[in-house]
Amino acid sequence: MIQDSQIDAFHHVQTAHCENGVTTALLRYHGLEFMTEPLAFGMGSGLFYIQIPFLTVNNGPAISFRTMPGAIFNRTCKSLGVEVKRKKFSNQLAAQDFLEKKINEGVPVGCQVGVFHLTYFPKEYRFHFNAHNLIVYGVEDGKYMVSDPVMEDVTTLSREDLTRVRFAQGPLAPKGHIYYPEKVGVISDDLIRKGIVKGINRNVRDMLRIPGNFAGVDGIRHTANHIRKWRDKLGLKKASLYLGQIVRMQEEIGTGGGGFRFLYGAFLEEAAAYLQDERVAVISEDFTKAGDMWRASAIKMAGIYKGRLTEQKDFEDVADMLVDIRGVEKDAFQKLAKLNLCK
């Protein structure tokens, strides 16, 4: 049976973050054995910081430590000359049929889903968050075989449950979004090196030169300035919840800890080996430091939302820590910019 052999050929990959995982597993399936999570993350210029103005998510500030959903998969594939097919649907039946067709052809596909109705997730994690990604790679006993990159093992979803999460509603509604690599060419080491350099340069641009003060490294200072005002403006209780939200975004499943900074450090380490450039490995240390500092700030914030720390000074301390982190990250990206990598 052809289908079976296809299913055998697909290997589940557990990663820190879902979109990296989908990218890594699908590209490996298509023969790109060298692909790793840090490489996918770095080539896709995944590191970011933004506090989206005027928007609240789950009654807290809308903060993200990584680039926008879908960008990592797109950019990494594009750098490697991999053609990508994506489709969204207004009709649920059409979405079901298309998925069915792809699975029958033996093609594993990435799906964007909402986690609120994701039955295998623990209840505590099921908020209305619509930018989760998983791979559907087969069907067995009327159930879809699912490879969710944040899980240790593969799992299954019934047809109804899968359709439900594919058509979750609210901000970033997936609309049945399905995507997969369509055509993969020959990939030389040179192409990989080019992709790495492009990924780094684009990340430098996003973090240092993005306009506005609420994104990139300046976004971190922007949040710091907000934190200084939260206690007076919102009251201690709400201000504490807001800090909890920052930590949840930073340390949520799918970050690998440290708000993706360790992951970027791991990428630069791999990049240094590909580029044969020791300077890149040295800068990797700066991101490790930034990751450690993010974790230290999370510990301080935890003191506040656990009710142990209550003074304005504690909020000021957190803000100061973020300003320090901004300094470290700005410095690190400036160093990367100065390398003038071009291959």
Binding site: E37, V150, E152, G254, G257, R295, Y305
Partner: protein, 147 residues
């Protein structure tokens, strides 16, 4: 005299190593462990599975304390006759107006109106059915509020 923030956490002056990775059981414990990137003895990155971190768990717990308070407040508001059950079920399902609008197809403006008990009383079966479906309950459960 202000102390530098990091003086409070001397342990974090050194980079997190494999053996320092927290393994605090949390909500994920029966579900999966998560991949974390840490430094090994050679100073290189590698991945290790973690059961969780207390700081994270506390953040999630405090979010749930807030959610449960909101649900309780909503319940009281419905009992007092200030809000319709739509408001309670919206909170119960962790939704806000935007999300509920997505699931029902109603504009936020109308949803806010439907949260008034007087307007709710005269809502058509059709509209009630849309809300019931969004909340995963029957129309009767929506109409007859049991708290």
């Amino acid at each position: 005299m202000r102390c530098h923030p990091f003086h409070c956490f001397p342990i974090l002056f050194t980079t997190m190593k494999k053996e320092d990775l927290p393994q605090d059981p949390g909500a994920l414990d029966k579900f999966t462990r998560e991949v974390c990137y840490v430094k090994n003895d050679d100073g290189k990155y590698e991945t290790v599975l973690s059961r969780g971190w207390e700081v994270k768990k506390d953040a999630l717990d405090s979010a749930w304390v807030d959610v449960n308070e909101r649900i309780e407040d909503a319940r009281q508001a419905v009992i007092r006759g200030e809000k319709s059950p739509i408001y309670y079920f919206m909170e119960l399902r962790l939704m806000d107006i935007t999300v509920l609008s997505g699931y029902t197809g109603f504009f936020g403006f109308f949803i806010k109106r439907h949260m008034k008990p007087s307007v709710f009383k005269v809502l058509s079966e059709n509209k009630l059915a849309k809300y019931a479906q969004a909340f995963d309950i029957s129309v009767n459960e929506l109409k007859i509020f049991k708290g």
